[in-house]
C-alpha cells in the first residue's frame, strides 16, 4: 500500500524529524495513526448520519446499522491493528537502554495508538449513525472491550520479534486448551458447576498464573531461559488482563460490587477515574514485566 501521494508534506517532515531525533516515537507511527483517527472521526461524525437507516422508518432497520457500520468497523479496525503490529515487527528497535519511565511511556504510546485506531467508531455513537439507545449501549460495551483488549497488544511490539506468527497463534491456542484442561480437572474434584467449581476455578487460575509467572521470572533472572520460557512469558502477557479481574472476586462479594457500581452512577466521573486508573495500573504492570523480560532476552538464551 503506497499512501505517499496523499500524505501531507508537513506531516512527512514531522515524521522525518521524529526519525532523526526520537526513533522510538517514530517507530510507533503515532503521527500517521493520529492523522487517520482525526480524519476518520471527522468524516464519520459529519457524514455518518446521511448514510445510515433512521429508526423512525423501520425499528428493525437499526439492527442492520449496528451490523453494517459498527461490527464491520470493529472488524476492519482489528485488521488495521494487525497491520500496525506488522509495521512494529518490521524494524528492530533497541529498547534495552531505555529507563523504566521511557519504557512505560512507549507502552502508553502503543496503547494510545491502538485506541486511536478505534476512536472513529465512537463517532458513530455521537454522529448519529447509531440512533437507538440499545445499540449505543452495545457500542459502549464493545468500546470497553477494546480498552481492555488493547492492553496486551500494546506490549506486543517489544516482544513480537522473538516469535514467529504461527508460534504466537499456537501459544494462544494451547494456553486456551490448558485452561480448559484445568477446568476439567477442577470439575473432576467437584460434583457439579454449582457454587463449588465457580468459586474454586478463578483461584486455581490465579494460582497457575502466579506459579508460571514465578517460574518464568526465575528462569529469566538466572539467564537460563529457553524458547519455551519465552512462550510462557508471552502467554502470561496475553492472560494478565483476564487474571487480574478474577482476583477481584476475592476482594469481596461480586454482587456488592455491582450495587456499588449503581451507586457510583450518580457520580459517574468516579467511574471514569476508576476505570481508566485501572487501565493505567495494568499498563504499568505490563511495563514492569515486559521491560524485565526484554532486558533479560538481550542476554543469550540457553537454546
Amino acid at each position: 500500500m503506497n499512501f505517499d501521494k496523499i500524505k501531507p508534506e508537513f506531516l512527512k517532515k514531522l515524521d522525518q524529524r521524529l526519525l532523526l531525533h526520537y526513533p522510538a516515537l517514530w517507530h510507533s507511527k503515532i503521527i500517521w495513526v493520529v492523522s487517520y483517527a482525526v480524519v476518520a472521526f471527522t468524516g464519520i461524525y459529519l457524514f455518518g448520519d446521511f448514510v445510515d437507516a433512521e429508526p423512525e422508518l423501520h425499528q428493525y432497520r437499526e439492527n442492520d446499522d449496528f451490523g453494517w457500520f459498527f461490527s464491520l468497523g470493529i472488524f476492519l479496525t482489528s485488521l488495521m491493528v494487525i497491520y500496525w503490529l506488522y509495521l512494529q515487527f518490521q524494524q528492530k528497535i533497541d529498547y534495552s537502554k531505555l529507563s523504566f519511565g521511557k519504557f512505560l511511556g512507549i507502552l502508553f504510546l502503543n496503547y494510545a495508538n491502538i485506541i486511536l485506531l478505534f476512536i472513529p467508531l465512537i463517532a458513530m455513537i455521537y454522529g448519529g449513525v447509531l440512533d437507538m439507545e440499545r445499540d449505543q449501549e452495545y457500542a459502549w460495551t464493545s468500546w470497553y472491550s477494546v480498552l481492555y483488549g488493547a492492553m496486551p497488544l500494546s506490549a506486543l511490539p517489544f516482544v513480537i520479534r522473538q516469535f514467529k506468527l504461527i508460534e504466537m497463534v499456537l501459544t494462544a491456542f494451547f494456553g486456551f486448551i490448558y485452561c480448559l484442561i484445568v477446568a476439567l480437572v477442577v470439575f473432576l474434584f467437584n460434583d457439579s458447576f454449582n457454587g463449588g467449581i465457580m468459586e474454586q476455578l478463578p483461584f486455581v487460575y490465579i494460582l497457575n498464573f502466579v506459579a508460571i509467572g514465578a517460574y518464568v521470572v526465575f528462569k529469566f533472572s538466572a539467564q537460563n531461559y529457553t524458547q519455551q520460557t519465552k512462550r510462557l512469558g508471552f502467554l502470561l502477557l496475553l492472560t494478565f488482563p483476564i487474571v487480574v479481574p478474577l482476583s477481584f472476586l476475592y476482594m469481596g462479594n461480586l454482587t456488592d460490587w455491582r450495587y456499588y457500581k449503581y451507586d457510583l452512577e450518580t457520580h459517574h466521573y468516579l467511574v471514569w477515574v476508576l476505570g481508566y486508573g485501572f487501565v493505567a495500573l495494568m499498563l504499568t504492570g505490563y511495563a514492569v514485566f515486559t521491560r524485565f523480560m526484554y532486558r533479560r532476552m538481550v542476554f543469550p538464551g540457553k537454546k
Binding site: 500500500m1 448514510v51 453494517w68 464491520l72 488495521m80 497491520y83 508460534e167 491456542f173 476439567l184 454449582n194
Partner: protein, 313 residues
C-alpha cells in the same frame, strides 16, 4: 515446536508415508491426521460433553432470582460449548491452511476432475475440523433452540469458509500481510461503494447495494479472466483474484435470488442461516456442490495461468 509423534499410531504413520510416496496431493491435504484428530475429539466430545454442561434444571446462583439464573445458564453453555469450540475450530482451520502453505505442490498436471477431487478432499478436511464442535453441541445442549443456534453458526462458518478449500492452490502466491490487506481493502471498497450509492442515488443497503456489488464482482471476474487468459497479469491482478475468491460465497446467494431460487435477497442470505432448517438438501446442493464446482473451475484456470511468467513485479 509441537511434537505429536508419540501419540500417532504406527499404522497411520505408515499410511501417511505411503501417501507421501504415491499420492502426494492426497498426502498434502493431511486427511489422515485431520480425520484421526477430528474423529477422536468428536468421540470424546460426544461421549463426555454432557457431563460438563449445565442441565436445564440446575441453578447457578441460588441467591439471584430464577429468571436471571436460567438466562445465565443458557449463556454459559452457548459460550462454553458452542462459540468457544467453534472459535477454536476456526483457528484449527487457519493452522491447517498454514500446513498447506508449507510445501510447494505441483498441481499443473491435474485436469479439472483432479482439481475438483483435491478441492473435495480439502473441503472434507474442513468439515472434519468442525466436527468436534458439532459433536460437543449435540452432546451438551439440552434445549433444541440452543442446539439449532449453534448448528446454524457452524453452517455459517462452513459456508463462509468454503474458500478455504481452494486457498491451498494459490496460498503461496501471497505473503500473509498481503492476504490481510486484500481482505481489508475489499471490505473498505465495498463500504465505499455502499456509501456512495446511498449518498448519490439514495439506494438502500439491502437489495440495491447488494445488487451493485454483485455486478461489480462479475466485472472484476471478467477483468481477471481476460488478464490471466492473455498472460498479462500482474501482482495486483492476483490480489484481485484472491479477493474475488474470498468473496464469492458472499456474492453467490444473490445469484440464487436472481435465478428465482429465493423470492427476495434477505431470504437468499438467511437461507444459509435458517433457524429451523439447517444443512438442508437445497443448501448442500447450492452452497456446497455448486460453489465448490465453480471454485474448482476458476482456480484450475487461475492456477494454470499463474504458471506463466508474471508481467512485472
Amino acid at each position: 515446536m509441537m511434537n505429536f509423534d508419540l501419540i500417532k499410531p504406527e499404522f497411520l504413520k505408515r499410511a501417511d508415508q505411503y501417501l507421501l510416496t504415491h499420492y502426494p496431493m492426497i498426502w498434502q491435504t493431511r486427511i489422515i491426521w485431520v480425520a484421526f484428530y477430528s474423529l477422536s475429539l468428536f468421540t470424546l466430545a460426544y461421549l463426555f460433553g454432557d457431563y460438563f454442561d449445565h442441565e436445564p434444571g440446575e441453578i447457578l446462583y441460588p441467591d439471584l432470582d430464577v429468571g436471571y439464573n436460567h438466562y445465565l445458564v443458557d449463556r454459559q453453555d452457548r459460550l462454553a460449548f458452542g462459540q468457544i469450540p467453534l472459535f477454536l475450530s476456526a483457528l484449527a482451520v487457519f493452522y491447517w491452511l498454514y500446513i498447506q502453505y508449507q510445501h510447494k505442490i505441483d498441481y499443473s498436471k491435474l485436469n479439472v476432475a483432479g482439481f475438483l477431487g483435491v478441492i473435495a478432499l480439502n473441503f472434507a478436511c474442513i468439515v472434519l475440523i468442525l466436527l468436534p464442535a458439532v459433536g460437543l453441541a449435540f452432546s451438551a445442549f439440552d434445549i433444541t433452540r440452543l442446539l439449532n443456534e449453534v448448528l446454524r453458526d457452524v453452517q455459517i462458518t462452513l459456508t463462509l469458509g468454503l474458500s478455504a478449500a481452494v486457498l491451498p492452490f494459490i496460498i503461496r502466491e501471497f505473503s500473509l500481510i498481503e492476504i490481510v490487506l486484500v481482505v481489508f481493502a475489499g471490505f473498505v471498497y465495498c463500504f465505499l461503494i455502499a456509501i456512495g450509492l446511498r449518498l448519490l442515488l439514495g439506494i438502500n443497503f439491502n437489495s440495491g447495494v447488494t445488487g451493485a456489488l454483485f455486478l461489480n464482482f462479475w466485472v472484476f471476474v471478467a477483468i481477471i479472466s481476460v488478464r490471466f487468459y492473455q498472460k498479462t497479469y500482474t501482482q495486483q491482478t492476483k490480489r484481485l483474484a484472491l479477493l474475488c475468491l474470498l468473496s464469492f460465497t458472499l456474492a453467490f446467494p444473490y445469484a440464487l435470488y436472481l435465478l428465482d431460487v429465493y423470492p427476495n435477497v434477505n431470504r437468499a442470505y438467511r437461507e444459509i442461516a435458517h433457524r429451523h432448517h439447517i444443512f438442508t438438501l437445497k443448501w448442500l446442493a447450492a452452497n456446497i456442490f455448486v460453489v465448490l464446482s465453480m471454485y474448482g473451475m476458476f482456480v484450475y484456470f487461475m492456477y494454470r495461468s499463474l504458471l506463466f511468467p508474471i508481467k512485472r513485479k
